[in-house]
Symmetry: C2
Subunit: 382 residues, 2 copies
C-alpha cells in the first residue's frame, strides 16, 4: 500500500458512484483524506457525509439548499451552484478527483481538473464522449492521468497493466444486453418506464439504467474506450454476455485473451481507480464461478438496438457528432422518463438531431458548450 | 519486438512442445537463431529439423541412432545419450533454453541450464515438482529467469504481468476434468488405455494425456504453481472448466479476477515464453466466444480423482514426497500404457511408494536422483 495519504475530491458524492467511493475512503482511513465533496440536490446526505469526513469544502449545486447546508456545517466552506462546482473542480491542492457526476454536466469539471494538473478518476463517460480529443490533448500537455471507473474500462485497463499498447489486437467490451435482450423489436414501442428501469444485473442510477435498456450505454462506452485506449474503431468490439461476470477483455496479437471478472458491482472498479496500481484488500462477496453456472456470449443486434448503431456512426463520423449524440440521448432519456415520449422515440430524436446540426470537424470547448445548448433545445421542442 | 536475435536451444525438439516451438522460430527468423536441438529417438525428424535450421549442435539420446544422425549431418556437432544431453543443457552461449522433455528425465537438464546462467522456458513440469526448492534457490543465486510454458502457468504468469505479488489473494488453476469427468468411479477399474488416451480438448503426448485422465496432471500443476509463484498451498485452488477456454485465473485481494483465455492449443503459451514480455503477431485461429457457447465451472472431485488428492498430500507433506509422487506416477503410467496394470492401480501404487520410502526433509540433487532410482525399481516390482 501507499505510504502517503492521498488527498481526494469526490464530485457527485450522494450518487451511487459517490456513495461507493466514500465506502472506499472509509475502509482505508490512513490512505485517503477526503478534502472536497459535491452533491447536486441531496442536501441531507451531503451534510451527513460532511459531518463524517470533515472535508475542507463542499458544493451544493441546487442553490435553493445552500442555506440549509451552510447552516448545518459551520466551519466548513460551502459553495453553491454550477459556479461553485466549477470552482471546486479547479482546485489543485488534491491528488485525485473522482468525477461521479451524471451526464454532460460532468464534462466541464473534468476539464477544469485536468487544467489544474490533478489526476481524474472518471466515472462520467460523457466527458470523453463529448470532448475526447480536447481532453486527450490536455492530458498530454499537463502530464495528468485519467483513470477509468466504468467497470468495462476498468477491466480493459487492468488487462493492459504491464502490456505494450502495440501488442493489442482488439478490445472486446462486454454488455449484458439489458432488460430487452430477448424482447422482439416489434414490442419495443410499448416498453414502459418501469420495465426499462429494471436492469437484470446492475443497480445503477436512472439515466444509465435507461441507457442500458437502449444499449446507448454500450455505444457511449465504445466512444469512451476509443479515447481512453487510443485504438481505431475497428479494433473495438462488443459482445453480449448476459451474466455480466466478464467485465471486458483484451485480445493480443498472438491470440492470447485477457479478461477481468468479478460480481456485477461497481465497488471494485471504483476502489481500483483510487488505489491503482495496487489492489487493496476487501472482504466483500467474492466471485465463485462454480456457483454462477455458465457464462454465455452472443453477437449484439445493431438492428434492434438502434442507439448502439448510432454511437458507432457518431464515432466514425467524428467531430461534433458524438456531442450531439450524447446530449440528444440525455434529453430524450429525460423526456422518456417523464412519460413524454415512447421508448422507440429515443433513437429517432437522436438521429434527427445528428442529421440537423451544423457539423464541426474539431469543436473547441466553446463550440461543445454551444452545441450542448442547441441540442438540448432541439430535443425539447422536437 | 526485440531488436536483438535470441539464441535458443530446444530440448525435446521432436515432441509436441518442440515441434510447436520450432514453428515459432520459423515464424520469426529475425528474432530467433536456433542453436541447439535434442531428440530422444526420432532420428529422421531430428535430421530434417537440423537441415532446415542448421543448429551448431544436436543430441540424439538413443545411442543406437547416433551413427545415422552423424552421417546425415556432416559439419554439425552431434552428441549422444544422456551425457550428450546434459552437456548440451550446460552450454552458456545461448539466451534461452526451451525444455520440452517429458518426465523426470527433464529435471537435470533444467538444473544444468540454470547453473550455466541461461534462462529456461520450462514445459517439463517434473523439474519443479521434483526439485522446486533446489531450483528456486539456484535461480536466485544465478539471477536466472524461469518462464512457464504450461498453458495454466502461462495464464497465471500473463495475469500477473504488472501486478504486485502481495496483491494476490489466490490462484485458480482450471482443468477440463479429462475424459472421465462424468464417468462414475465404479467404472474406473475397467478404463482401457484407448479410452484414457482420448482427451476431450487437448492434443498432447501419451504420458500427459494419461495424467489428464487421472487428473495427476492437475496435481503436478498445483505443485509447479507453488514453486513458480511462491504462494502457500491454501492459496492455490482448482476449478473444473470442461471447455478449456479459460486457462487459469488470478484473484486479487480486492476481489478483482483476471483470466487468460484462448483456444486449447499450446501454440500461444509456447510462443509467449519465447517472446515475453511481448506478444508477437500470429494469424492462427482466434478465440470467438460467441461460437463457443457457454463456459461452465465445477468443483473438482477429490474422492474420484485420487491422484489429485495425492498431489496435494505430497505438496503439504513436502520434502521428498513430491519426488516419489512424480516418479511413481510416471512408472505406473508407463505400466498402465503397456497394459500391465489397471487404471485404478495408478494411485494405489503411488500411495504405496509414498508410504514406503525413507522421507527426507530437504533432499539435495543426489538424494533426488537416488530416490528416483529407488521409486522406479519399487513401482516396477510392485
Amino acid at each position: 500500500m501507499n505510504t502517503r495519504t492521498k488527498q481526494i475530491s469526490i464530485l457527485g458524492s450522494t450518487g451511487s458512484i459517490g456513495v461507493n467511493a466514500l465506502n472506499v475512503v472509509r475502509s482505508f482511513p490512513d490512505q485517503f483524506r477526503l478534502k472536497y465533496l459535491s452533491a447536486h440536490s441531496q442536501a441531507d446526505l451531503l451534510i451527513e457525509q460532511a459531518r463524517e469526513f470533515s472535508p475542507a469544502a463542499v458544493v451544493i449545486s441546487d442553490e435553493h439548499q445552500y442555506e440549509t447546508v451552510k447552516d448545518a456545517l459551520p466551519g466548513t466552506e460551502v459553495l453553491k451552484g454550477r459556479a461553485g462546482l466549477l470552482d471546486l473542480a479547479s482546485r489543485d491542492d488534491i491528488d485525485i478527483m473522482l468525477n461521479g457526476l451524471v451526464g454532460s454536466a460532468g464534462m466541464e469539471p473534468t476539464i477544469r481538473c485536468i487544467q489544474a494538473g490533478v489526476d481524474v478518476a472518471l466515472s462520467n463517460k460523457e466527458s470523453l464522449v463529448m470532448a475526447g480529443e480536447l481532453i486527450n490533448n490536455m492530458l498530454t500537455e499537463k502530464g495528468v492521468n485519467l483513470f477509468p471507473v466504468d467497470s468495462e474500462h476498468s477491466a480493459i485497463w487492468q488487462c493492459l497493466v504491464g502490456e505494450a499498447p502495440e501488442d493489442i489486437k482488439r478490445l472486446v467490451i462486454t454488455g449484458s444486453g439489458g432488460p430487452f435482450r430477448a424482447t422482439p423489436v416489434a414490442a419495443f414501442k410499448d416498453i414502459t418506464v418501469a420495465q426499462a428501469l429494471k436492469h437484470p444485473n446492475w443497480a445503477m442510477g436512472r439515466k444509465i439504467t435507461i441507457d442500458s435498456a437502449t444499449m446507448m450505454n454500450k455505444g457511449l462506452e465504445v466512444i469512451e474506450a476509443y479515447w481512453l485506449f487510443h485504438l481505431p474503431v475497428d479494433k473495438i468490439d462488443i459482445v453480449i454476455h448476459p451474466q455480466s461476470i466478464i467485465h471486458s477483455m483484451v485480445e493480443f496479437v498472438d491470440g492470447s485473451v485477457k479478461a477481468q471478472m468479478g460480481l456485477p458491482d461497481m465497488k471494485i472498479p471504483i476502489q481500483y481507480a483510487l488505489t491503482y496500481p495496487r489492489h487493496f484488500p476487501q472482504t466483500w462477496e467474492q466471485l465463485d464461478l462454480t456457483k454462477i453456472g455458465a457464462l454465455t456470449f452472443e453477437e449484439p443486434d445493431f438492428n434492434k438496438f438502434k442507439c448502439l448503431q448510432l454511437a458507432f456512426d457518431a464515432l466514425e463520423g467524428g467531430g461534433s457528432l458524438p456531442v450531439v449524440l450524447n446530449v440528444a440521448n440525455e434529453e430524450a432519456v429525460y423526456r422518456f422518463l417523464k412519460g413524454n415520449i415512447p421508448f422507440t422515440a429515443i433513437p429517432e430524436l437522436i438521429t434527427k438531431a445528428m442529421n440537423t446540426h451544423d457539423f464541426l470537424e474539431h469543436p473547441d470547448l466553446d463550440d461543445i458548450l454551444a452545441l450542448e445548448k442547441w441540442t438540448q433545445a432541439f430535443i425539447q421542442r422536437s
